[in-house]
């Protein structure tokens, strides 16, 4: 099942995607519905939910801020 990690901006979403690709993790940048994100429009990284522990680990390691995990 796919989940979405919300990102504070598209710029950071692109940065995160590039970092993850270098680690061999493939994600897609998506625009989740504002209804799913309390602060309104945002961007997110969509991937298989089994990858999220790695995704969060690498983003923290790189100091890239992220939001929350929501259903895709």
């Amino acid at each position: 099942m796919e989940k979405i990690l919300t990102m504070t901006s598209q710029t950071l979403a692109i940065k995160a995607k590039r970092v993850l690709e270098q680690k061999g993790i493939s994600v897609r940048i998506v625009r989740p519905s504002p209804k799913l994100t309390p602060r309104g429009c945002s961007f997110g990284l969509q991937a298989d939910e089994r990858l999220f522990s790695y995704i969060l680990y690498y983003l923290k390691e790189e100091g890239i801020p992220f939001g929350e995990i929501i259903n895709g």
């Binding site: 901006s9 598209q10 940048i29 602060r39 801020p65």
Partner: protein
């Protein structure tokens, strides 16, 4: 035609700049940061790539710390207004362009801040001693040009940056004339915010500029000066303070940004060091040649490094000379150059003629210019 007005904007631009701008407008011209479709994503990827290239070129790791603006003036307004808090004191040099002077003076007039001016034409040691003397306990920042827009004076940014670090001051650098030409490394030189145009020595199009923030810049107290949509957190009333999007309200100029990216590529391919060396060669050649022409006065003739010259004349107004040169197809700029403080410091009397070079000029043009100038005065 001879174009010696490169300090206003470089001309012509490398062909790759036009090509990429055209490609953007025909192949991937979506609105970056707004949608998730292919064209918007492609535009966002292209803009991000330019952020990465600029960050790398100017010595920072965080690509998101490059905030795009429409020009250097907008970048300086963003930087200065963003850091300013009531009660702050600023130090600026007497070579500042109105993009710094008017912004600082306006803030002081409207919001009760204060500023002092230090003399930048003195030698480096005297200038640094004056900066130290004029610092107050509540001085928040030094805001100063890197290279003057009217005379061959280049400020020692690494020394000023080291002083700012020691005193815990912010250091905002106006790199309008130096970005792309002189060596700048934000982290090494202790710069807090570097403000630059894309359309001068970075050879991008007009409409491009940026503020580059140090990797360790604290955005928590930095306030945006432009408000509106940025494609994120749209349900909230505030812009936030996360670079770059919080400080890029409204649609960014994607064609101009990718053009700037190509301009930077041109600088990297030609090598910045070589461009600096080449323009300095043109500068020294022009200085030597102009010194032989009667009734021509050079301002700051002792300077050995530069990319522009400022001239005055005996018996004829510089603006009149510029007009005569324009009739002969020579593009130069006379007047106050939006830098009244600097004109006062140099004692021009409020009018002087500036010639400024780029990588596109050559020594033969200097000889032709000297010949035409001789007949014009």
């Amino acid at each position: 035609m001879i174009y010696f007005d490169n300090a206003a904007t470089t001309f012509p631009k490398p062909t790759g700049v036009m090509r990429e701008m055209m490609r953007c407008m025909t192949e991937y011209g979506g609105n970056p940061g707004r949608s998730g479709h292919r064209l918007s994503m492609a535009a966002a990827e292209a803009v991000f790539h330019v952020r990465e290239s600029l960050a790398d070129f100017f010595g920072i790791k965080k690509a998101e710390n490059i905030v795009f603006t429409q020009n250097c003036t907008a970048a300086l307004n963003l930087a200065i207004r963003g850091i300013a808090k009531r009660g702050d004191h600023f130090l600026i040099s007497d070579l500042e362009h109105n993009s710094v002077l008017r912004t600082v003076a306006g803030l002081c007039r409207e919001q009760g801040m204060t500023y002092d001016i230090f003399h930048a034409l003195e030698n480096d040691e005297m200038m640094l001693a004056e900066i130290e003397k004029k610092c107050r306990p509540y001085t928040r920042a030094i805001i100063a040009t890197h290279a003057s827009n009217i005379c061959p004076r280049i400020l020692p940014i690494a020394k000023i940056g080291a002083f700012c670090r020691r005193k815990k001051l912010l250091y905002i650098v106006d790199a309008a004339q130096s970005a792309g030409l002189y060596d700048i490394n934000i982290m090494r030189d202790g710069i807090s915010i570097l403000c630059a145009p894309g359309h001068k020595a970075l050879y991008g199009p007009q409409g491009s500029g940026f503020a580059a923030f140090a990797d360790d810049f604290d955005f928590s107290r930095f306030t945006p000066s432009l408000f509106g949509g940025n494609g994120k957190n749209s349900a909230e009333l505030t812009m936030g303070n996360e670079p770059p999007d919080s400080f890029e309200a409204g649609t960014v100029a994607t064609p101009a940004i990718v053009g700037l990216g190509e301009g930077l590529r041109f600088v990297r391919i030609r090598r910045r060091e070589r461009l600096e060396e080449y323009e300095n060669k043109l500068y020294l050649l022009a200085k030597k040649r102009l010194e032989t022409i009667p009734h021509v006065r050079l301002y700051l003739p002792e300077a050995e490094k530069g990319s522009l010259l400022l001239l005055g004349f005996d018996g004829i107004a510089p603006s009149k000379v510029a007009e005569r040169l324009a009739e002969q197809g020579i593009c130069v700029r006379a007047g106050l150059h939006c830098a009244p403080l600097a004109h006062t410091a140099l004692g021009t009397g409020g009018d002087a003629l500036r010639i400024s070079f780029s990588a596109m000029n050559n020594p033969a043009e200097i000889e032709t210019f000297a010949h035409v100038l001789q007949n014009a005065i």
